[in-house]
């Protein structure tokens, strides 16, 4: 048994920032991560960090752009906090030595990004995330914060009160990937989940293989609701063969999209007459798929992104990394030919419901970064807004967990009297059913919000590993995972309709049933990735189901969530967040109104045109 004041799960941008803040606030802090910190997915971020740093720009403009970009589904208190804190927190990175790109006078450079009314994206070449991650890891090393790397966190230990709002998180149960031992970690003050996105729920994704929604699933099963999961961002420019991302920075610097007839389709067909290629991501992603559907795609699959006209010097200065990516992963030389691109799953706007201080409805349980939903992105995230979210809300979660007084939150969490229930008929019974019987291999601590003390939780996870390891035939996780990923990409993609989503839910259900017969082929306790991926697959099933459920009930068109049956944004009925919580082995759905009132003003929903 290990014991610390604050335990941070995950060592990407959010986790590292949270750990530094908790440590600075005086707490004995440790990080537990399935990857060594520098391997975290934050390292892949390319484009930059939005922060109103320059004269002529201010946080209010940043907040306004973000509210508009969110299609009015973000909570104003969170958005204003983001915009207000981002400049200082970005400058803090600069003081920690982050090598930002520079202007002639030595100040950090900023560039335009989609949906921004001012060029406020601060960057370090086209590898901003790499530098952000390494800079923060360096600070963690400097402070001597303990890191348990290559430890896979399997579950949370929360107390077992009937109402999740009364529960308390005592710690976590983790599995040492190197040796196979399952151990408990007690958290005296708080557990902060910073486990990143759930991109692996989809087949074509820009996300790393490690983005399996573990934190989402653990918090969900412990009783914390997942919010706005239907809002998945599909990035318009990923490489067709692998999903590797071509940064929005390319369009920010002036890159142009063409169809197979060489037409600049964003303008030619009126998808975005003002902003063209720099319209927000949902708009561009749909335009590309429309082009392909209309027969104007290249090889019926993708479109072209051209940056040749920017000139070699500028490309090498600002986008060099993109040249390498196009060359290594698609065999295309971006200096002499256009690059093939198509939409790919990229970012989850939704996540574990938290307030501005990073708290979930469970006492002592926090979340920050992409796994959390504060919510600053609403229906659509603006490029360059995730990295400031990591540092702003990572820092706040760390400080709050360590006991700093950040004031009363305005955002409420958990089921309460301000929520509205849902009465949608679901096509299949979602949720566990059958998986919670203790002797099933698939039974896992937390399935039916199984709770208790840390010791009990450790025993449960040990038993779960034994069951998985003892069984020596059945289905393998890779098969189930592939089926799930294909279903999500086929039916819960950029374009959605009721029939398709119902089909997806049925397939998810099948995956659950097949999972009851899952087994781990590798008998070893040393670095057993087979076992780890088997557990991850279970998490993906839970997360995929919440995405599909959210997509099914939200019968309107908002941000990245496009619904064929209902092609209008329905402000009258849908200015509210979708929440899915795990309730005695079944998901239950409820809603909470969006908060549009900010500090000084109210953000009135307007038609979002670019």
């Amino acid at each position: 048994m290990y014991e610390h004041d604050v335990l941070v799960v995950g060592a990407g941008g959010a986790g590292l920032r949270a750990a530094i803040a908790a440590h600075e606030a005086g707490a004995d802090t440790a990080i537990v991560s399935k990857l060594h910190p520098v391997r975290s997915h934050t390292g892949a971020a390319e484009g930059g960090i939005n922060a109103a740093l320059q004269e002529g720009d201010d946080w209010e403009l940043h907040a306004y752009d973000t509210m508009k970009g969110s299609d009015y589904l973000a909570d104003a208190p969170a958005v204003e906090t983001l915009a207000q804190d981002a400049p200082e927190d970005t400058m803090r990175l600069e003081h920690w030595g982050m090598p930002f790109s520079r202007e002639e006078d030595g100040r950090v450079s900023q560039r335009p990004f989609g949906g921004l009314s001012y060029p406020r994206t601060t960057y370090a070449g086209a590898e901003t995330g790499h530098h952000l991650l390494h800079t923060m890891y360096e600070q963690v090393v400097k402070r001597g914060i303990q890191v348990y790397d290559e430890w896979y966190v399997m579950n949370l230990a929360t107390t077992d009160e009937e109402d999740p709002n009364d529960r308390q998180c005592e710690g976590i149960v983790a599995y040492d990937v190197q040796t196979g031992t399952v151990e408990g970690f007690k958290a005296n003050q708080g557990v902060i989940l910073a486990t990143g996105g759930p991109g692996q729920a989809f087949d074509h994704t820009t996300n790393a293989v490690s983005c399996t929604g573990d934190g989402h699933a653990m918090a969900y099963r412990a009783g914390a609701p997942l919010e706005d999961m239907e809002f998945i961002q599909f990035h318009p420019t990923s490489l067709p063969s692998t999903g590797v991302l071509i940064s929005e920075g390319v369009r920010g610097e002036g890159g142009i999209l063409y169809n197979n007839e060489g037409e600049r389709f964003m303008f030619e067909y009126g998808y975005a007459n003002n902003s063209g290629e720099l319209a927000s991501r949902d708009v561009v992603a749909r335009a590309e798929l429309d082009e392909v559907a209309e027969g104007r795609g290249v090889k019926d699959e993708y479109v072209h992104l051209d940056m040749r006209h920017l000139g070699e010097e500028r490309i090498l200065d600002r986008l060099e990394n993109i040249l390498h990516l196009a060359e290594d992963f698609e065999g295309v030389d971006g200096l002499v030919e256009p690059m093939p691109v198509k939409p790919g799953q990229h970012y989850a706007m939704g996540g574990i419901e938290v307030d501005e201080n990073g708290q979930t409805c469970i006492d002592g349980l926090y979340a920050a970064g992409e796994c959390a939903c504060v919510s600053v992105h609403g229906g659509n995230r603006l490029g360059g807004n995730a990295l400031p979210e990591l540092i702003v809300f990572g820092k706040r979660a760390g400080a709050h967990a360590a006991g700093d007084d950040l004031g009363e939150p305005e955002i409420r969490t958990g089921y309460g009297d301000d929520v509205e229930d849902d009465d949608t008929e679901l096509p299949v019974a979602p949720g566990a059913s059958g998986l919670d019987s203790a002797d099933s291999v698939a039974a896992d601590g937390g399935v039916a919000a199984e709770t208790g003390t840390l010791e009990q939780a450790v025993e449960r996870e040990r038993a779960r590993v034994d069951r998985l390891m003892d069984k020596d035939s059945g289905v393998q996780h890779a098969e189930i995972r592939a089926k799930l990923q294909n279903a999500m990409t086929d039916y819960v993609n950029v374009f959605r309709n009721e029939e398709g989503i119902e089909k997806a839910l049925e397939i998810i259900r099948e995956c659950r049933e097949e999972y009851q017969d899952v087994y781990v082929d590798d008998p070893s306790t040393t670095f057993n990735t087979d076992l780890q991926q088997t557990i991850e697959t279970r998490n993906l099933i839970d997360v995929a189901e919440t995405i599909a459920l959210g997509a099914l009930v939200r019968n309107e068109f908002r941000g990245a969530h496009w619904r064929q049956e209902n092609q209008v944004r329905d402000d009258e009925n849908w200015l509210k967040h979708t929440l899915v919580s795990w309730d005695d082995g079944e998901p239950s759905i409820f809603y909470r109104p969006v908060i549009l009132e900010g500090e000084e003003k109210t953000y009135e929903p307007k038609v979002r045109s670019y």
Binding site: H95, S101, E127, E138, Q178, A208, S210, S524
Partner: protein
């Protein structure tokens, strides 16, 4: 060429499932496949693609009886244009043998987890196109590192060396939050440290270095390059630079480098490592630091 999976290894270590008293799940699966229960899906794909790639993958597991003696397994993976070494081992794992173990995450050359020894050279699996390699493609763990299992090596020593150079910015007087004015850095100075800041801690350079192989205390190219990034950054003061040079010119530091360039050759991020090490030697001399 047969499209299906692995043929149990012939030369390195003959493996006959029948000879063992108890059958491991891996062996059983293997047998099932040999008996014709082949993956139809895989076969179709291979047929459509018209070819397969033959990879030979190093296997070792201290715990599993038939893997305690290191061996190579052969896999025939259906080939698709654009396929990388990482794609091939992932395919082999997902379709043929789920116990095949290796680190990987980003698939885009930024996380540094999948440095392997491929056809005798250190490279990132995800960044290396199969079409550029001679077949059969031999995939092994990084040399000079202790093997944990299959392609996974122990990175602790590498991390220790990285940490030994105090790899964090040291500016003396960070202003209070309220007046956190940015520090200025000329574009030229930023350009100067640019290449050194790209390191993804993959360990390829360290594994390729003969000196590091013979001297366990040698800081090694990656750590020295990390120190270079800070030492050359004008935002740090002269005193701190001197402190950094003192760490670097100690007995197992920069002077150990014999400019063999193997690190520079293998670095997937094209960092001019040897050049950086030479430059630091010159700086140490300029500063009149004692040298070994």
């Amino acid at each position: 060429m047969s499209t299906q999976q692995q043929e149990p290894e012939s030369q390195e270590s003959p493996q006959d499932p029948e000879m063992k008293g108890t059958e491991s799940p891996q062996q059983r699966r293997l047998k099932e496949k040999e008996e014709g229960m082949v993956d139809e899906h895989a076969e179709e794909e291979a047929e459509a693609a018209g070819e397969t790639v033959h990879i030979k993958v190093f296997r070792y597991d201290p715990e599993v009886a038939d893997k305690q003696e290191p061996r190579f397994d052969d896999f025939h993976v259906p080939f698709e244009k654009g396929m990388t070494v990482l794609d091939a081992v992932m395919y082999a794992r997902d379709e043929f043998d789920s116990s095949l173990t290796f680190r990987h995450s980003c698939r885009q050359a930024v996380c540094g987890s999948d440095a392997f020894f491929v056809n005798g050279s250190q490279m990132l699996g995800c960044k290396t196109q199969l079409s550029e390699l001679e077949q059969p493609v031999r995939i092994e763990p990084l040399p000079h590192q202790e093997v944990v299992k299959d392609l996974v090596v122990d990175m602790d020593h590498f991390y220790d060396q990285m940490h030994a150079v105090e790899p964090y910015f040291q500016d003396e007087d960070t202003p209070a939050a309220s007046d956190l004015e940015e520090q200025r850095q000329s574009p030229e100075n930023r350009e100067k440290i640019k290449m050194s800041s790209r390191c993804i801690w993959c360990g390829a350079c360290m594994s390729s270095c003969n000196i590091a192989a013979g001297d366990n205390e040698y800081l090694g190219p990656a750590a020295i390059n990390k120190a270079y990034k800070f030492a050359m950054d004008d935002r740090e003061s002269e005193e701190i630079k001197e402190h950094r040079l003192r760490i670097l010119e100690q007995e197992h530091g920069v002077w150990r480098c014999q400019t063999q360039f193997s690190c520079t050759e293998v670095c997937p991020k094209d960092i001019p490592l040897t050049e950086h090490i030479q430059e630091l030697k010159r700086e140490a001399v300029k500063k009149n630091l004692k040298f070994w």
